[in-house]
């Protein structure tokens, strides 16, 4: 009994001894943070609750803190926000600072909603994209922290004309106030490889040779190849493929219940899938007509010819019918006879 009491007290004392210096010390242990940064893939430390308490909270810090907010749900649900690319650029900026002369004056963190909600609540982040910078002398307590507008990177403050912001924008924003210097942003690129000119040249030469070879084989002059290509171009265009590209239309969407939705009824807008469905229907009609016209009469076996041409007719009729049905479904259009 006594022994257990003793152990308890001892333990408490030991715990106190261990934790007190951390609570007292104004500057947290930087070497550990350095280690975490070196371990991270692109010099961005994941912001867990512990990291937050240890390295961000406090009256002041000897370094600037940059926090990138991310939420998987948002980046998956809104591909148009291009958060993945933004995160990559953020990582490049972090690397540039880590290599630069002021590597211990700024640290980059990523606050993921899935790991910890605390930073979101603390800095009142409710919309993405959002990147903040916390200056060394800012007091960060566990309650909410008011950041000035100038310390937030949101579309309102940085602008959207060059979105997703390249790493250079991050570097400028983060280093601006404190005059921090970063190394040159090192973008991984195949152009920088010493082998690139060799690969390019050999690629060009072999391509030219290939083209010459294929041309002499006169395979390229075969109409079948061009027929397939032409149909592809036609299919893409009449499906409204250009509309999909220019407007950045998704292939399908999820409705409120989470079901996949491939077809938008109503005149406004289209989804990628519905356009391509219609394009495919057109091609079905055309291909079956072409089959009946050019291939079916050349089949010598009578039963096969009859069956196949019947099938072709059925496919053509079905596709036409389906096309008109979908058209009516989309626009509510009916053929009206004016007499």
């Amino acid at each position: 009994m006594f022994l257990t009491e003793m152990t308890r007290t001892l333990l408490a004392i030991i715990l106190c001894v261990i934790t007190t210096p951390k609570l007292i010390s104004a500057s947290p242990d930087l070497s550990e943070l350095h280690a975490m940064r070196d371990q991270a893939r692109d010099a961005v430390v994941i912001l867990t609750d512990d990291v937050l308490k240890q390295y961000v909270m406090g009256r002041n810090r000897p370094y600037t803190v940059a926090i990138y907010f991310s939420a998987e749900q948002v980046s998956e649900g809104n591909p148009s926000l291009r958060l993945g690319e933004l995160r990559k650029e953020y990582g490049l900026a972090a690397k540039a600072f880590a290599k630069g002369p002021d590597s211990d004056k700024i640290f980059f963190f990523e606050a993921a909603l899935e790991t910890s909600q605390m930073p979101f609540a603390m800095l009142q982040v409710n919309a993405l994209p959002c990147v903040v910078r916390i200056l060394p002398d800012l007091h960060v307590s566990s309650s909410t922290v008011e950041l000035s507008r100038a310390d937030k990177m949101v579309p309102d403050t940085v602008g959207t004309h060059n979105y997703p912001w390249p790493a250079e924008v991050f570097v400028k924003f983060m280093g601006d106030r404190q005059g921090l210097k970063a190394a040159e942003v090192d973008r991984p690129s195949i152009y920088k490889s010493p082998l690139f000119p060799v690969v390019l040249l050999s690629g060009l030469v072999s391509l030219a040779y290939l083209v010459y070879k294929v041309y002499t084989m006169s395979l390229l002059q075969h109409p079948a190849l061009w027929a397939v290509l032409s149909l592809a171009v036609f299919w893409f265009s009449v499906s409204g493929g250009m509309y999909n590209i220019i407007r950045g239309v998704p292939f399908f969407i999820r409705d409120r219940k989470g079901n996949l939705q491939f077809f938008l009824t109503g005149r406004q807008g289209q989804l990628g899938a519905e356009g391509f469905t219609l394009g495919t229907l057109y091609l079905l009609v055309s291909c079956s007509v072409a089959f009946i016209t050019f291939l079916a009469p050349r089949i010598s076996n009578r039963i096969l010819r009859d069956t196949l041409s019947l099938i072709g007719t059925a496919v053509a009729a079905g596709s036409i019918y389906q096309t008109f049905m979908l058209w009516t479904m989309k626009t509510g259009y009916h053929h009206v006879l004016h007499v």
């Binding site: 309102d156 002059q221 109409p223 061009w226 027929a227 032409s230 149909l231 171009v233 036609f234 299919w235 893409f236 265009s237 009449v238 499906s239 409204g240 493929g241 250009m242 509309y243 590209i245 220019i246 005149r267 807008g269 289209q270 519905e274 356009g275 219609l278 394009g279 057109y282 091609l283 009609v285 055309s286 291909c287 007509v289 072409a290 009946i292 016209t293 050019f294 079916a296 009469p297 050349r298 010598s300 009578r302 010819r305 041409s309 019947l310 007719t313 053509a316 009729a317 596709s319 036409i320 096309t323 008109f324 058209w327 989309k330 626009t331 259009y333 053929h335 009206v336 006879l337 004016h338």
Partner: protein
């Protein structure tokens, strides 16, 4: 037999006449349902210039400096219009008056487009007759006569460049294909002349000058190079470019813009290819190889030099020497990123799939079969049809306006497909015999003759005719196995261009399809042709014939409400303002104002000066006081807005307002789009609308006194019937502008810019109160 041939020819001409009448008359719905009036926006400018032309003559028009538009800049009309349409209408007017037909110039303008769509049907007939057969040509003419996409731009009253340009386009193609088929220099002369007419008519000529070189290169690639192609193409490039240069609006662009470089490139390649084939004929193989390697080395060196010069020249210009609209075609996202004024026009938007079926109906389903049919029996002309179809379908995907270029192509391709299908079906039915009989048929299919371009007339399959020597072995192989089968064998030999694909097709023989399939397919064709006609008439009657200057809405008792507010307001301006008064509005209404009200405007639909348009956009988006000073600086006396909130007319200025903000903001950075949007990014004019929005001049001019009027007329105070909600600020006061006229249905509201602003007791009292508070 001779009688049959005569009857066939007669019925062909009868059908063509019928098709022309159909093409003309299907476009008259707008006159029948509304009245003979010029439609929409751009036609009013063309109408005004045509009026000027008929009064003052050709040379005066050529030198006309118009001081009634783009005040204070003015506009040189002769050098900035494509004069084809105006000259055409002017010439028709002159001819009619020469014969003492007392017709008003407006009627001539109204009926020009329907007339030329009949010509376009003839040109289509010619094109497909050259490429395939007269039967297919008739089908193509029929399709193009009533295709909705073309109707949309050529109804009576739609006096726009496209009305004659589509005819001109197909006409150029017809003469080109005819020249390629015949190799006649006379045809080439007509081709160059028709190309000149096309350049005069429409900026879309750049489509031709890129398609024809492409075709030329494709011919070289496929080994179809011959002298006839040279006769067709070389004079076109040389003389056609010279003609383009002498049309002021094109001028030296014809040699300086990259859009035309393709033609020059193909011109050079054509010469080189011909030279090489000539030299190869002259020399032995060994000598030729030596010469070729020598020449190639020198050519590569020179070519690299020339290429670097061209690249350097082209790279100097930010758009690489291409105009904005052409860049939009190559890089579809170009306009939305860089040129709001191009992106703002609705006809420059990319179409959705439903636009294709709405505008082309079943043709869009048959056109790919036409491509396959053309490639199956590849001739020079059918290769052209394929290329035309493919380029047009790609470009139409970028810009809905180019659907118009696609329409004839799709008509031609579908006609080829349908004609081939009908040929097989009818042949099968003809050969079909009751059980246990067997017969062979030999018929010569129609094909474009290589030499004269005259397609052999369609000969009916003659049962029992002797099999051609091309395929006796195949026949022998089949015949013994099938005597007791109810199969009739039909074989076709075809007199056609000897190409590889065709040669393989020629040797095989064709078997008849079962009667059930033939019947079903023929029935299906009839049904979809019927649906096509029904749809086209519906499109012409209901969808595309509204002049948009006069509006109708059906009444419960079966009659129609007529909204004639625009003409009412323009007439007011014409009769009640000083002839030199300057009128400001959004650019959409510029042409109408100059043509109908005969007053000077600040901006109009010829969007050549973005900063001037941006100034008007800035004024409309600014507060009243600022807008007043902008308008005063421009000497503007009257400002009008188009407002649909009372009657529910959706294309009003409030709905166009964001474009004014965007275009204004593009030049004047103080205008920011987010200031006019709710925090959620919605564009609203209700209580959630931003303060900047509710204080903008556009809001005030639109909704001035609106609350009281809506109370009276609809019983819902302040409810906008287009937006469908209560507006944000009911009590709108104007201190710098004065309402002078509002049309019957409030669709057009005219304000006078006050010489001196009203004293504002309320705001001054407010300020005083504040000052007093501060002192207290």
């Amino acid at each position: 037999m001779r009688l049959y041939a005569k009857l066939a020819a007669a019925s062909k001409y009868l059908a063509l006449t019928g098709i022309c009448v159909l093409a003309f008359s299907v476009r008259l719905f707008s006159i029948v349902k509304y009245e003979s009036v010029i439609h929409e926006f751009d036609p009013y400018f063309n109408y005004r210039v045509t009026q000027f032309l008929t009064k003052e003559g050709f040379y005066e028009m050529w030198n006309w400096f118009d001081d009634r538009t783009w005040y204070p800049l003015g506009r040189v009309i002769g050098g900035t219009v494509y004069p084809g349409l105006i000259f055409t209408a002017g010439t028709i007017y002159r001819i009619l008056h020469f014969f003492h037909v007392p017709i008003h110039v407006q009627e001539v303008c109204v009926l020009t487009a329907p007339l030329f769509s009949a010509f376009c049907a003839l040109a289509c007939y010619g094109l497909v007759s050259q490429a395939r057969s007269h039967g297919a040509g008739l089908l193509a003419a029929f399709f193009v006569a009533i295709v909705p996409s073309y109707i949309s731009r050529s109804v009576a009253g739609s006096f726009d460049n496209e009305g004659v340009a589509i005819f001109a386009l197909v006409n150029v193609f017809y003469w080109f294909v005819k020249t390629v088929n015949s190799g006649s220099l006379a045809d080439a002369v007509v081709l160059v002349a028709s190309y000149g007419y096309m350049v005069m008519s429409w900026g879309g000529y750049s489509f031709i000058i890129n398609l024809l070189p492409l075709y030329c290169l494709a011919c070289i690639f496929f080994g179809r190079l011959n002298g006839r192609l040279y006769v067709a193409f070389a004079p076109l490039v040389a003389l056609g470019t010279a003609i383009s240069c002498s049309i002021p609006v094109v001028g030296f662009n014809a040699v300086l813009m990259s859009e035309h470089f393709g033609a020059f490139f193909a011109f050079i390649v054509l010469h080189v290819a011909l030279l090489v084939s000539y030299v190869r004929r002259m020399l032995s193989t060994k000598h030729f190889v030596i010469l070729a390697s020598m020449v190639l080395t020198v050519a590569i060196a020179l070519g690299a030099l020339a290429a670097s010069v061209v690249v350097a020249y082209v790279a100097k210009s930010p758009t690489l020497g291409w105009t904005g609209r052409s860049m939009t075609l190559l890089d579809p996202t170009y306009a939305s990123r860089f040129v709001p004024i191009i992106a703002s026009v609705s006809e420059h938007q990319p179409p959705q799939w439903s636009s294709y079926i709405m505008d082309l109906h079943m043709l869009v389903m048959l056109a790919p079969a036409g491509i396959l049919a053309c490639l199956h029996r590849l001739t020079d002309a059918s290769l052209f049809l394929v290329l035309y179809g493919l380029t047009a379908v790609y470009f139409s995907g970028v810009m809905i306006r180019l659907m118009l270029v696609l329409a004839p192509a799709v008509c031609c391709l579908s006609a080829v497909a349908l004609s081939d299908l009908m040929y097989v079906l009818c042949g099968s039915m003809r050969c079909w015999k009751p059980r246990f009989t067997f017969s062979t048929a030999n018929d010569s299919a129609t094909a474009a003759g290589e030499g004269g371009g005259e397609g052999a007339s369609k000969a009916p399959p003659t049962p029992g005719a002797a099999p051609s020597p091309a395929a006796p072995s195949t026949k022998d192989a089949v015949a013994p196995s099938t005597p007791d089968e109810p199969t009739s064998v039909k074989k076709k030999t075809r007199s056609r261009v000897p190409s590889k694909a065709a040669a393989s097709a020629a040797g095989s023989k064709l078997y008849a399809l079962p009667l059930l399939v033939c019947g079903a397919l023929l029935g299906m064709i009839l049904v979809i042709l019927g649906l096509y006609v029904v749809h086209c008439i519906h499109a012409s009657a209901d969808m595309y014939s509204s002049p948009s200057i006069v509006l109708q809405s059906p009444r419960r008792d079966g009659g129609v409400h007529v909204f004639d507010d625009f003409r009412e307001a323009y007439a007011w301006l014409r009769h009640n303002t000083h002839p030199d008064a300057k009128v400001a509005s959004w650019w959409d209404y510029g042409y109408q104002t100059t043509a109908m009200a005969n007053r000077t405007v600040i901006v109009d639909n010829n969007t050549w000066n973005t900063s001037h348009i941006a100034t008007v956009g800035r004024a409309m988006s600014s507060s009243e006081a600022k807008a007043w000073s902008i308008y005063r600086a421009l000497d503007v006396e009257y400002v009008f807005v188009v407002f649909g909130g009372l009657v529910g007319y959706p294309s009003d200025d409030i709905n166009k307002f964001l474009w004014m903000v965007r275009i204004g903001g593009g030049v004047y950075p103080e205008i920011k789009e987010p200031d006019y949007l709710t925090p959620e990014g919605d564009y609203r004019v209700d209580a959630r609308g931003t303060k900047t929005m509710l204080n903008s001049l556009m809001y005030k001019l639109s909704y001035y006194d609106f609350a009281d009027e809506s109370q009276l007329s609809t019983g819902q105070r302040g409810v906008d019937r287009v937006r469908g909600y209560l507006i944000g600020k009911l009590n709108v006061k104007l201190n710098y502008f004065e309402e002078v006229f509002t049309s019957q249905h409030w669709m057009m509201r005219i304000y006078r810019v006050r010489d001196q602003p009203l004293r504002d007791p309320t705001s001054r009292a407010g300020k005083k109160g504040k000052a007093a508070n501060r002192r207290g």
